[in-house]
C-alpha cells in the first residue's frame, strides 16, 4: 500500500465520519458502505464488504439520539479494512483469517471514537457561543462560518479515530498475529458466521416489538425448514 492509498483511506475516513452526524446523513457511514468504499480505494472492495457484513448489525440498534454517542462503527470498518487490505500482508496473512483478526482488533478500539466525538462536540460548544454572539451583534456571515467550522472538529475526530485504530491495530496485528492466527484459521467460517449472528441477536434484543420473539422464531424455523427440505 502506497502513500496515495493511505491518503485516499484518510479522505474516506473523514467523509464517512462526517456522514454520521454532521453532514448529509445518507448513511455512507454504515459499515456495510464504509467498508467496501475503503476497500475499493485500496483496490480490494470485497475485503471491505466482508468487514462491513461483520460489523453492520453490532451497534445498529444504538440510536444516535440527542446527546447519546454510540461506538464509532464507521471508523472501525474503515480502520479494519485498512488493516486487512493494506497492512496484513506484511505479517504474511491474507483471506478470511486476516479479515477476522483485523475486525477483532478494531472493534475494541472503536471506543476511542466515542472519546474523540465527545471532544468534537465540546469544541462545538465554544463555536455555538461564538456563533450566537456573532449573530446577535449582526455578523451573520461570521455565525455561518462558526457553524461550518463544526465540520472541521467532527472531521478531525473521525480521522483521529481511524488513525488510532490503524496505528494501534498494526502494532497489535504484528505482535499477536503469530499467536492467534492458528486458532483463528481453525475457527474460520464458524467465527465469521458467529460474529454476524451476535450482531443479529443484539439487533433483535434492542428492537422493541410486540410478538418480536414469535416473529423471529417463525421466520427462523420456516426458512431453515425450506432450506433443509428443498
Amino acid at each position: 500500500m502506497v502513500a496515495v492509498d493511505y491518503l485516499l483511506a484518510g479522505m474516506i475516513s473523514v467523509l464517512t465520519g462526517l456522514d454520521r452526524v454532521a453532514l448529509v446523513q445518507i448513511m455512507i457511514s454504515r459499515p456495510l458502505v464504509a467498508g467496501p468504499l475503503t476497500g475499493w480505494a485500496l483496490g480490494n472492495p470485497l475485503v471491505g464488504l466482508e468487514i462491513g457484513m461483520l460489523l453492520e448489525l453490532l451497534w445498529l440498534g444504538r440510536l444516535p439520539v440527542g446527546a447519546a454517542i454510540p461506538p464509532d462503527d464507521t471508523q472501525v470498518a474503515v480502520g479494519a479494512t485498512v488493516l486487512a487490505a493494506g497492512t496484513g500482508h506484511f505479517v504474511g496473512l491474507d483471506g478470511m483469517p486476516l479479515v477476522l483478526l483485523s475486525v477483532l482488533i478494531a472493534i475494541p478500539l472503536g471506543k476511542f471514537g466515542q472519546v474523540f466525538d465527545k471532544l468534537a462536540r465540546q469544541v462545538n460548544d465554544r463555536l455555538a457561543v461564538s456563533g450566537y454572539n456573532a449573530l446577535m451583534s449582526g455578523h451573520t456571515a461570521k455565525m455561518e462560518r462558526c457553524h461550518l467550522l463544526g465540520l472541521v472538529s467532527f472531521g478531525l475526530a473521525s480521522l483521529a479515530t481511524a488513525l488510532v485504530i490503524v496505528l494501534v491495530g498494526t502494532f497489535v496485528l504484528f505482535t499477536f498475529a503469530p499467536v492467534l492466527i492458528g486458532a483463528i484459521q481453525e475457527a474460520g467460517l464458524s467465527l465469521q458466521y458467529s460474529l454476524i449472528l451476535v450482531g443479529a441477536a443484539v439487533l433483535l434484543g434492542t428492537t422493541n416489538v410486540n410478538r418480536g420473539i414469535s416473529l423471529f422464531c417463525t421466520a427462523f424455523i420456516g426458512t431453515l425448514l425450506v432450506l433443509w427440505l428443498r
Partner: protein, 253 residues
C-alpha cells in the same frame, strides 16, 4: 415595520434551504444542540421575508435551543417560515413561530427516531446484508437506495408541506400514522433477522458437513444473546465471549 402582502419564498430559496438542511448538525453541541444549524438552514427564507437585515427579535428566537430528528427539521422549518411570513404582515395565528417550534420538536424527534433510525435503517441494512451474504457488491448500493429514497423525499416534501399547510401540517403528519408504520417496519426487520440467522445456520452446517437439522441449535443461542443485549449487556462483551469460546474450542479440538 409591517407590509401589506405576505412575502413569498421562491423556488430557489426552497432549494437553498433544502441543501442547507444537509448541514443542520454541522455544529451539533451539548449546550443548544442544533441551534446554529436551524438558523443556518432557514436563513435564506428569513432573508426573503425580512430582507438582508433580519430583525434582532427574529434572530434571537431562532438561534435558541433546537433539537429534532434531522429529517423532520425541514418540516419544522417550512411551517416556521410560513408563520414568520404571516407575522410580517400582522397576522396573529393561534401559535407563534417560537411556540410552534418548542411544541413540535420533541414529538417529531421521537417520531423520526422510531421511523428512520429504528425502522427504515435496520430494514435496509438487513436487506443489504442478505445480498452481501451472496458476496455481491450491489449490497451497499441497494442499502443506500432503500434508505435514501424515502429519506430524501421526506426532507424535500417536509419543507414544502410545512410551508404550504402551515399549522395544518401537524394534522397531515398525524394522518400519516408514522408510529404505526415504524412498528410495521420493525416487525419486518425482525422477520428478516430470523431469515438471515437461519440462512447463516444452514450455511454453517453445510460448511461443517453436518445435517441441516443441527442449524436449530443456533436458535436458543441467538435468543439467549438477544435477551442479554436486551438486559443491557454490551455488544463488545458478547463479541469477546463468542470469539474466546470459539477460539478455545478450535484450540481444544
Amino acid at each position: 415595520m409591517k407590509i401589506m402582502h405576505r412575502p413569498k419564498l421562491n423556488w430557489l430559496t426552497f432549494l437553498r434551504m433544502y441543501l442547507r438542511s444537509f448541514l443542520l448538525q454541522s455544529s451539533w453541541n451539548f449546550e443548544k444542540l442544533q441551534n446554529l444549524g436551524f438558523y443556518f438552514m432557514i436563513l435564506p427564507g428569513l432573508r426573503d421575508i425580512y430582507g438582508e437585515e433580519v430583525p434582532e427579535d427574529v434572530r434571537e428566537r431562532h438561534i435558541d435551543y433546537f433539537n429534532t430528528h434531522p429529517y423532520f427539521a425541514t418540516l419544522v422549518a417550512g411551517t416556521t417560515l410560513r408563520l414568520e411570513a404571516g407575522s410580517r404582515v400582522g397576522e396573529e395565528p393561534s401559535v407563534d413561530a417560537e411556540t410552534y417550534k418548542s411544541m413540535v420538536m420533541a414529538p417529531f424527534a421521537a417520531m423520526g427516531d422510531a421511523l428512520f433510525w429504528g425502522g427504515v435503517r435496520p430494514l435496509a441494512a438487513l436487506i443489504g446484508l442478505l445480498i452481501a451474504s451472496q458476496g455481491s457488491l450491489w449490497a451497499p448500493v441497494v442499502f443506500l437506495l432503500i434508505f435514501n429514497l424515502p429519506h430524501l423525499f421526506f426532507r424535500g416534501s417536509g419543507l414544502m408541506l410545512g410551508y404550504v399547510q402551515e399549522l395544518h401540517a401537524i394534522e397531515t403528519v398525524q394522518k400519516c400514522r408514522f408510529p404505526d408504520l415504524a412498528i410495521r417496519l420493525k416487525e419486518s426487520t425482525t422477520i428478516l433477522i430470523g431469515v438471515l440467522c437461519a440462512y447463516l445456520s444452514f450455511k454453517g452446517c453445510e460448511h461443517q458437513e453436518l445435517p441441516a437439522v443441527w442449524g436449530f441449535v443456533i436458535l436458543p443461542i441467538v435468543l439467549l444473546f438477544a435477551w442479554l443485549a436486551h438486559k443491557g449487556v454490551s455488544s463488545l462483551f458478547l463479541v469477546v465471549l463468542t470469539t474466546s469460546s470459539l477460539l478455545l474450542l478450535a484450540l481444544l479440538f
